[in-house]
């Protein structure tokens, strides 16, 4: 390490610092510190002339380390590092003393503030002596991208990237893409038909030259790191040859076995060989082993007999394919809250108490009833209650607001109005109509003569029957401040959105984290809403939190943009301040092995030492602090540097 030649620059920041701290004295003090060649103070160090002073000194005085005492490093560390670099000093040989946010702005006593400023400067000076040049490292980015989840978010992200001419692997675990949106009837607030806007996108995906669609498939393993992930994907056996199948559908008509349809949420039937819904993409059926007579009894094979192209293949087995991608977009969607546990609402217990998704199918012209809103007995309801916040904003289930329920509930009342003249009661806690055109939609519905009752429903019962209805709602009207009894024929539970039931498995798979509500955690709630803690892995749609279609689509496009940014740059910078194991000192005790949140540490069984994969390391230093041999160095935050800094502040 060359003899330190340090330049110290004390910033006045106008009067922000100089008003409290005696900058001249601090400068004089700095001048006297070991290794300091020059110390100056200036009005605004971050200004161009300020920066010029530093550059000039570096060149003329041959400085090799720089300390600037000014504001918080979060503001100008980057600035001054750049200055150093431009003047030919490695940016990591720069250190900043925060004498504004941590000193002049929080202290009134000028004398003590000046003392503190001195301490902070001496700390920075001592620290910088031990700092070492670091190279910011770059790794190449594989131009292919993996999108996990074929709902609207996944579809949107895939298309955006593919349209730019880069390969996308879209993995969906069910037989078809489309996700929840495919099950919806109309979409609020514009009321355009969900299928009409979704299916074109779906078929685009199906036929896109840059999209390799893998339905009925699941991600099994992810290794590698940003820019070059290796992903293993299991393609579950369809028992139908995708290349041969023409999607004629004859097999489905011939199949003798009927099963409850998942797509119709149990309200309709499908065959043992099936495509979830008519517009499925790909339009290739799968055989559901659990219910196929051949797999159960060893006979039948009707589908096989009638398939002209001989696409049926009972011998098919799962295939595991390995792909390499530079970025991954996780869009695994949500799970609709199951209201069965809320006993008092009677779901699954009382006829004509249904969930919002069931209603979507009920009202859908392609649905089981052809779009007729009917009760179990086939009659048309005369009154319908829609209960909001089922499973949301509820300490017993989910504390968060599911964002979409108010709006789809309003949508429901409109659809009901269109098709029946039933009385409609909206039982809500608060109406949340925050989006574009949402409030207007709310107004419109109020005019359509929907009853809005503010209050939480305490019970839905069939014990109190009356002329007007088979069911009775017991609730408190908090506006009238009275307990009310509502006789109705049908109750729709506006269920909330919750994380997929296997979300925890997914977090482990992709090494990302979840927030308290169980949805995937974005790197920053405001400024980095699609990135995750794991570089190169992005989130989009409801897996990150409940949201409506426009927001899901927007986030998906954002995620696509993030991936494309990486791809078009061709390389990514990775953390320079990583941790490294000194193999001369590592005894192979393996204390550190389990500590890394990024699994960056592995053990070399040959040499019996632990090793850190610097490409994966984020430099948190947890392993450094744990190493009993001090054999791990946390670059730019070495024990030497930090101890020197501690000694410095305590002068």
């Amino acid at each position: 390490m060359s003899e330190p030649r340090i330049g110290v620059y004390v910033c006045h920041c106008g009067s922000n610092i100089a008003g409290i701290v005696d900058v001249e004295e601090v400068t004089k003090f700095a001048q006297g510190l070991e290794g300091v060649i020059v110390a100056r103070d200036y009005k605004f160090m971050c200004s161009d002339p300020g920066q010029e002073i530093i550059k000039k000194d570096i060149q003329e005085l041959g400085l090799n380390r720089i300390v600037v005492a000014s504001c918080s490093p979060t503001l100008h560390e980057a600035t001054f590092r750049r200055v150093c670099q431009e003047a030919g000093i490695n940016p990591y040989l720069f250190e900043m003393a925060n004498i504004r946010e941590h000193c002049s702005w929080v202290t009134e006593d000028k004398e003590k503030a000046t003392e503190k400023a001195k301490a902070l400067v001496s700390a920075a000076v001592r620290r910088v002596i031990y700092q070492e040049p670091l190279e910011t490292r770059e790794v190449p980015v594989n131009p292919n991208t993996l999108v996990v989840g074929g709902g609207i978010a996944g579809v949107q992200a895939a298309l955006k990237i593919a349209d730019s001419g880069h390969k996308v692997y879209l993995v969906e675990r069910s037989p078809s893409i489309g996700g929840h949106m495919a099950q919806l009837d109309k979409t609020f607030p514009t009321l355009d038909c969900s299928a009409c806007i979704l299916t074109p996108k779906m078929s685009l995906v199906g036929s896109h030259p840059y999209i390799e669609l893998m339905t009925y498939s699941e991600v099994e393993e992810v290794s590698g790191y940003v820019g070059s992930f290796k992903v293993k994907i299991r393609k579950k056996a369809r028992y139908v040859d995708e290349d041969k199948c023409t999607g004629c559908g004859i097999c489905q008509t011939k199949c003798p076995f009927k099963v409850d349809s998942e797509f119709e949420v149990g309200m309709g039937k499908r065959k043992a060989i099936y495509t979830p819904f008519p517009q499925a993409v790909p339009n290739i059926p799968v055989i559901d082993r659990e219910h196929c007579a051949y797999f159960l009894k060893g006979t039948c094979r009707a589908c096989e007999k009638f398939c002209e192209v001989k696409a049926i293949d009972f011998e098919q087995v799962d295939k595991v394919v390995e792909i390499e991608v530079g970025a991954i977009i996780v869009a695994t969607g949500f799970n609709l809250f199951d209201p069965t546990p809320i006993y008092q609402y009677g779901y699954k217990r009382l006829d004509n108490v249904i969930t919002s998704l069931e209603f979507e199918r009920l009202v859908n012209s392609a649905g089981p009833t052809g779009g007729n809103i009917v009760l179990k007995d086939g009659s048309t309801p005369r009154s319908i209650a829609i209960i909001h916040c089922v499973g949301s904003r509820d300490k017993n289930y989910h504390e968060y607001c599911s964002n979409v329920c108010c709006m789809y509930s309003l949508k429901f009342s409109h659809l009901i109005k269109e098709k029946t003249d039933a009385k409609i009661y909206q039982l809500y806690i608060d109406m949340r109509c925050f989006g574009k055109g949402y409030e207007e939609f709310y107004d419109r519905l109020s005019e359509e003569g929907v009853y809005f009752i503010r209050g939480k429903v305490s019970e839905v019962t069939d014990q109190i029957t009356s002329e007007e209805g088979k069911l009775t709602i017991l609730a408190e009207d908090t506006l009238l401040d009275s307990v009310i009894k509502l006789p109705v024929d049908m109750v729709i539970l506006s269920c909330g959105l919750e994380p997929q039931l296997d979300a925890d498995k997914v977090t482990r798979l992709f090494n990302i984290s979840r927030s308290a509500d169980g949805f995937f955690l974005e790197r920053h709630p405001k400024l980095d809403p699609v990135a995750t803690m794991n570089d190169g892995i992005f989130v989009a749609g409801c897996c990150q939190g409940p949201k409506d279609i426009p927001h899901a689509v927007a986030q998906a496009s954002a995620a696509a943009a993030e991936a494309l940014a990486m791809i078009s740059r061709g390389k990514v910078e990775i953390e320079a301040a990583t941790a490294v194991v000194n193999e001369e000192l590592c005894s192979g005790c393996r204390i550190c092995n389990a500590l890394c949140p990024y699994n960056a540490i592995d053990f070399d069984e040959e040499k019996k030492v632990s090793r850190i994969n610097e490409a994966v390391c984020k430099g948190c230093g947890v392993c450094v602090a744990a190493c009993p041999s001090s054999a791990i160095t946390g670059k730019h935050f070495t024990t030497k540097q930090i101890v020197a800094e501690i000694e410095g502040v305590l002068v």
Binding site: S72, P73, T74, N98, R100, E101, H102, C103, W105, V106, T107, E108, D109, K112, A113, E115, K116, A119, L120, A123, S513, S515, A516, M533, A577, L595, P597, Y598, K618, G619, C620, G621, V622, V624, A625, A626, G634, F637, T639, I642, V643, E645, I646, E647, V649, L650
Partner: protein
């Protein structure tokens, strides 16, 4: 007496250091006795740092990190949660009062909280008096 304690603050870069910054930008005042050192994560804090501080004449040490669950590195601060109580147990065995060493969670939005913690701690230590390697006797 007008004893001015020296307190070392070791703050994680992502939450607590930012919280202290916020404290400054919103001009919240707190005693100047604390001197802040920045680390990437509270999980980087070695017990050695705290002992070193006392060796070098600190009267107290304050460690701040992100709230559990909010760690920028997912779980770094949980390692702090593991180390700190054991260190405290040893320090009390060595006759170092509880108030001299504190671990607090301060998020980037809790400038207010940071200020009150520092003020409170400064007062407590002022009352305790200076830290010294007191051997309770006269010689050696």
């Amino acid at each position: 007496m007008n004893f001015e304690p020296k307190i070392l603050g070791i703050l994680c870069k992502w939450c607590s250091y930012a919280g202290a910054d916020l404290c400054g930008t919103s001009r919240k005042k707190y005693p100047p006795n604390i001197r802040i050192v920045r680390v990437m994560c509270s999980g980087r804090v070695e017990p050695t740092f705290i002992l070193k501080a006392f060796e070098k004449g600190a009267d107290g040490v304050l460690i701040c990190g992100c709230h559990p669950g909010d760690c920028h590195y997912a779980e770094g601060n949980y390692k702090t949660v593991r180390r700190f109580p054991l260190l405290k147990k040893m320090l009390s065995q060595l006759g170092i009062e509880d108030e001299r060493v504190r671990l607090e969670w301060v998020s980037a939005s809790e400038g207010e909280r940071f200020a009150s913690i520092v003020s409170e701690m400064t007062e407590q230590i002022r009352r305790l008096g200076p830290f010294s390697r007191n051997n309770g006797g006269g010689n050696g």
